[in-house]
């Protein structure tokens, strides 16, 4: 058998072996067996030295063709085998994607602070800043400067928490004290007006206290957000526009507002603001006690007497103030049946929001 025949025989044999290689390891072995240092093809080529100079080019060409054919077959088989191997591996690694993920649990924000932050954001957008103040206040800031008469029932021991005054000062009313837990965040507004000159646009969220027994709809401690604007040319129409904007952002653009005249010592004119019931859309249902409206805010134009207490010229400046209970908004927005849930720290409640 001539060299050429040997080469062609090796090619046929090699191609068959490649075809039969079952996996990548077998294929590697075939490569070594034919193209390796001690491989069949290499051995044949080594025999080329014995050929004449005339024979060599022709045989050399055949040898190259055989090598190329084997290389090509190897590459093709390699690709087929490796993609099969990959598929097999991937198939073996498939998971049930419906199994739960591996997340480090993240915490939730308390409903009251969530709503407070929402309200703050709305008013930041209207150019307000956030003002804060002490929770244990002086009678002056909580009542007197807010135009509350000395014998107003809100000042009674039944309604307001008083704190022992260690300064030795005598209280104006026996049994009471000049120091108390603020019943509203309005004292912050008074302090702001004492400290700053108009224009004033502030929002004061914070904790307030009233002597109510904790029950599904009352807590002795709750959260209030009040707003105050003092500037030139502020009108009742501006108050309406501001609260309309707030209600639409907070409760949705379709909700309507209703202003009912009311009485508060520190504003005049004063109003209570209702928002149309989101459940019945104003038609009347059990949630809104058939009125179609839900009361959410108190508001009014700052009483000139209040400006008098803080030295703001009530002829030059006018202003408005409004206040809302965050717990009430929570109860309305989320239908929380019992406000006491808000202070119990029950993980099952907190994790819902």
């Amino acid at each position: 058998m001539g060299v050429t025949e040997e080469l062609l025989a090796a090619q046929a044999e090699g191609l068959a072996a490649i075809e039969q290689a079952a996996d990548l390891a077998a294929l590697a072995a075939v490569r070594v067996a034919y193209l390796g240092k001690k491989g069949t093809l290499t051995a044949v080529l080594r025999g080329l030295g014995g050929l004449s100079a005339e024979e060599r080019p022709a045989v050399g060409k055949v040898a190259n063709e055989v090598r190329a054919a084997l290389e090509a077959a190897l590459a093709k088989r390699h690709e087929a085998l490796s993609s099969a191997a990959l598929e097999a591996r991937l198939a073996s690694e498939a998971v049930d994607v419906t199994l739960p993920g591996r997340a480090h649990p993240i915490g939730s924000r308390h409903l009251i602070s969530r709503i407070t932050a929402q309200v703050v954001e709305i008013f930041l957008g209207l150019g307000y800043r956030v003002a804060e103040g002490p929770e244990v206040e002086l009678d002056y800031y909580n009542f007197t400067a807010l135009n509350t008469p000395p014998d107003h029932p809100a000042r009674s021991l039944a309604d307001t928490f008083y704190v022992r005054d260690l300064s030795g000062d005598e209280a104006a009313v026996s049994g009471e004290s000049d120091v108390l837990l603020r019943t509203q965040t309005s004292p912050v507004q008074v302090r702001t007006m004492e400290r700053e000159k108009p224009p004033i646009y502030v929002l004061s969220p914070g904790r307030v206290y009233r002597r109510d027994i904790a029950d599904p709809s009352h807590l002795p401690q709750f959260t209030q957000i009040e707003g105050l604007v003092v500037d030139e040319g502020i009108t009742f129409a501006d108050l309406k526009g501001t609260l309309d904007h707030f209600v639409h952002r907070m409760f949705g653009p379709d909700r309507k507002t209703r202003f009912r005249p009311h009485f508060f010592p520190f504003t005049e004119p004063s109003a209570e603001v209702d928002v149309s019931c989101g459940i019945c859309d104003g038609a009347g249902c059990r949630f809104c006690k058939n009125s179609g409206w839900l009361e959410i805010l108190g508001c009014g134009m700052v009483d000139p007497n209040v400006f008098g207490h803080v030295g703001i010229d009530s002829e030059r400046y006018t202003g408005f103030a409004f206040g809302m209970g965050v717990e009430r908004i929570a109860a309305l927005k989320y239908n929380v049946p019992d406000l006491r849930m808000l202070v119990e720290g029950d993980m099952r409640f907190l994790r819902q929001f």
Partner: protein, 805 residues
């Protein structure tokens, strides 16, 4: 204030259905709390005649009555009221009747006696407030007739909430005037002039007022020869509709006129007042003298305070001025001559007396809010005429009217520009004037402003702004077009502290803690229960009127509240608890007025981060989970140099207690709560907790960390396991490594702590991963080797350890 629609329509032409009127009132500042329909759902209620009344054999407070309801069968009805007698006629609800409150009447055994129905009070029938006794019907009420038929067709009653600034609306005439203004129709003011005869009133009594500030006016009339008896039906009905219990014709007239005109009146039995030798009664209005007492109408002996205003005769006090009459001079069935009082008292004085005696009456409630003193005599005349009409008798000529402090009419200027400036609406002078006139003001027009004379019954209108409010209220808030305040360069933003507090909350939640809120109140025993004593000189903030002894002070720490929440969860089977709270704590010191407040951040961790999962076991939380939260927090706030130093703290488990420091300043504490403390809160160990001063965190927080270029050259990583005494802290070893590593050591972190096989008792092996690297080139193996050798030598010497073999 209960307003009967049928009564109201006598005074003003309402012309709209009650529901619509309620809506209009709501929108003009008079809140309507409820609208009741009466007389509608009273099927099964009939007029009954009580024939006998016997004590219940088994119960002191109950009566067994025999009642004739006109159907030929006498019924036994058990009854708890005390105000009736055999012979009285009362409304009787028979079995099957459903009362307005939803109560269904059934035949039932009451303490062993079968009751075949119920004798009713006015409140049970929804036609009055009175529930202290049965509704006693006039003797001529026809037995067996359906009650609703006899009582009259159904009426609608509006319950109005009258705000403290509107005393004028505490009368039917006042409400009628308000309704008139709201609807734009005129209202009537009821008035009567008595026919006078006999001896002059002045001959029978005189009045002396010692302090005109406390009593600006006192007017009296004398009516002789009255016959006290039950009121006629029309009068009893009106009084009941307004919410009072009919008593007798004279007293009912005084109540009727009070409800009608808002002027409280009091009737004395003239013959029981002490008279001088001429038979003349000298009334004196003065404050109490020390030791004086008075038995009031309700039979209670009252100790009088020196500021209590009294009506006295020559023998002493006969009534608490403006609050309640005395028992000894009360009008009774035997009364013949009456002294009728129509006076006015200082609101603050009445309020004090009423508060200090715990006695609130229809009269005191009106005086407290100011009664129009100009109306005293008109009310007196009206009442005298009505008494003469329903009780007979002669009204003595003349009024004894002591009026030392006449009310001066109030004149206000209302600028039209100011109306526009405050309300943002354009109103013409005529429109404004029209509104004010409908409210009873006299208005004089000027070019720019109106001169307004305020009616005497509106003490609340004192300033221009009060007039502006009235204008807006009646014109209609709803009609004001909303606008937004004009923009003049203002920026809404949070302060640095506010936004950092937001960020602190973000980090807590990112770490897996849930925000909570607990009470700011604390138990005075908390410092002891938690072993967290007050610092030297600090005192708890004490409430003078706490809701309970467990909430008698303000909290000094957030820990007790959070531990209570841990316990709350654990008792309900929730064992994984991760909570944080940001809130104020409070303390004070001797001589301090306003206490100190500080915002704190506290957290509690119990159980595991999550329940066992298919791919992650539940790992019990411990000290280091709390520390991890604080590490994250410091990282996010860019506070450099967090240090956690072991400490002794009573509330924390020894050996798992630490102070949290930054830059040498203690910011708070961290640790596992002492089991003894947990036991007092009924919580199960372990509970990891921390509490940090938010103000200090904010102060130390940096706005940004400096930029450091990420390394470009590879590091050589080597491990170092060193065996040291238990007493040597990881921090000490790490510090030794850093100082020995010099410039070549870029990073180091502890990755293993090992005790046990191969490590001597009382010692531990700490394994650190070290990264050697310099920024500008790749280190050679030789450089690293010699640096590491040097480091090992130095570290082992300085911390007294050996390399772990």
């Amino acid at each position: 204030m209960r307003v009967s629609m049928s009564w109201l329509t006598e005074l003003v032409d309402v012309g709209v259905p009650a529901r619509e009127l309620a809506e209009r009132l709501d929108m003009t500042g008079t809140a309507v709390e409820a609208v009741h329909e009466t007389g509608e759902s009273l099927d099964g209620v009939v007029v009954g005649h009580i024939l006998t009344r016997e004590r219940h054999p088994e119960a002191d407070k109950l009566w067994v009555t025999t009642v004739d309801v006109g159907d030929g069968t006498l019924r036994t009805i058990v009854c708890g009221a005390q105000n009736f007698d055999a012979g009285d006629k009362v409304p009787v609800a028979l079995p099957g009747a459903v009362l307005p409150g939803g109560l269904e009447i059934k035949k039932a055994k009451l303490r062993g006696v079968v009751s075949e129905g119920m004798n009713c009070s006015a409140r049970e029938l929804g036609i009055g407030e009175d529930h202290e006794g049965l509704m006693i019907l006039p003797p001529d009420a026809p037995v067996g007739v359906p009650f609703a038929e006899w009582y009259g067709a159904g009426d609608t009653v509006l319950e109005l909430e009258i705000t403290p600034n509107r005393p004028d609306c505490l009368s039917m005439a006042g409400v009628a005037r308000e309704v008139g203004a709201v609807l734009g129709v005129p209202a009537k003011v009821p008035a009567s002039q008595p026919v006078e005869s006999g001896e002059e009133a002045a001959a029978a009594c005189s009045v002396t007022i010692t302090d005109a500030d406390l009593c600006p006016r006192y007017a009296a009339r004398i009516i002789r020869g009255v016959k006290v008896a039950p009121s006629p039906a029309w009068l009893a009905d009106k009084v009941a509709a307004a919410g009072a219990r009919p008593i007798n014709n004279v007293v009912d007239v005084t109540n009727y006129v009070m409800f009608e005109l808002g002027q409280p009146l009091h009737a004395f039995d003239l013959d029981k007042l002490a008279a001088d030798s001429n038979g003349r009664v000298a009334i004196t209005v003065r404050t109490a003298r020390s030791g004086e007492t008075l038995r009031t109408l309700d039979g209670v002996d009252r100790q009088l305070r020196s500021d209590t205003l009294l009506i006295c005769d020559s023998s002493g006090p006969v009534a608490l001025a403006g609050v309640m009459g005395g028992e000894s001079t009360e009008v009774s069935e035997t009364t013949v001559d009456v002294l009728l009082e129509s006076a006015c008292f200082d609101p603050a004085s009445i309020s004090r007396t009423s508060r200090s005696l715990g006695l609130v009456s229809e009269a005191s409630m009106r005086f407290e809010r100011t009664v129009d003193r100009t109306g005293c005599v008109a009310a007196l005349d009206r009442a005298a005429a009505l008494i003469a009409e329903v009780a007979g008798g002669q009204v003595a000529p003349g009024v004894v009217d002591e009026y030392p402090a006449p009310l001066q009419p109030r004149l206000l200027t209302l600028r039209l520009a100011r109306v526009r400036g405050v309300l943002g609406i354009d109103l013409g002078a005529e429109e404004v004037a029209g509104i004010l006139r409908s409210l009873g003001c006299d208005v004089e027009m000027g070019p720019e402003s109106l001169q307004v004379t305020v009616p005497s019954f509106r003490p609340d209108i004192e300033r221009e702004i009060d007039l502006i409010e009235e204008v807006l209220r009646i014109w209609g808030m709803e009609r004001v077009e909303p606008t937004l305040p004009g923009g003049r360069g203002r920026i809404g933003m949070l302060t640095r502290e506010q936004s950092l507090r937001e960020r602190i909350g973000d980090v807590m939640r990112a770490c897996g803690l849930n925000e909570t809120m607990t009470y700011a109140f604390g138990d005075p025993r908390d410092p002891e229960r938690c072993c967290m004593p007050f610092a030297e000189g600090e005192l708890p903030v004490e409430l003078l009127n706490p809701m309970s002894t467990e909430q008698a002070v303000l909290r000094r720490s957030l820990l007790p509240g959070l531990l209570a929440s841990v316990s709350y969860n654990q008792r309900r089977g929730v064992s994984d608890v991760h909570l944080y709270e940001m809130g104020s704590v409070f303390w004070t010191s001797e001589g301090r007025k306003q206490p100190k407040e500080r915002t704190m951040l506290a957290g509690v961790l119990a159980g595991a981060w999550h329940p066992p999962a298919w791919n992650a076991p539940a790992v019990p939380l411990d000290f280091f989970d709390g520390k991890g939260v604080i590490e994250n927090l410091f990282r996010e706030l860019a506070i450099p140099k967090l240090r956690v130093r072991a400490c002794d703290a009573g509330h924390l488990q020894p050996g798992r207690a630490a102070e949290v420091l930054a830059g040498g300043e203690v910011l708070g504490w961290l640790g596992e709560v002492h089991p003894a403390v947990l036991e007092r809160f009924e919580a199960h160990a372990p509970v990891v907790a921390f509490e940090l001063d938010v103000r200090a965190l904010v102060r130390l927080a940096a706005d940004a960390r400096p930029f450091v270029e990420p390394p470009r050259h590879p590091a050589v990583e080597l491990d170092l396991a060193i065996v040291v005494d238990e007493s040597v802290t990881a921090e000490e070893v790490e510090r030794a490594i850093r100082s020995a590593g010099g410039k070549l050591l870029a990073e180091t972190h502890l990755f293993d702590v090992y005790r046990g096989n191969g490590v001597e008792m009382g010692k531990k092996s700490l394994a650190f991963a070290l990264e050697y690297r310099v920024p500008d080139r790749t280190l050679t193996a030789q450089e690293v080797e010699s640096a590491h050798e040097r480091l090992v030598r130095k570290v082992t010497t300085s911390v007294g350890g050996t390399l772990r073999s």
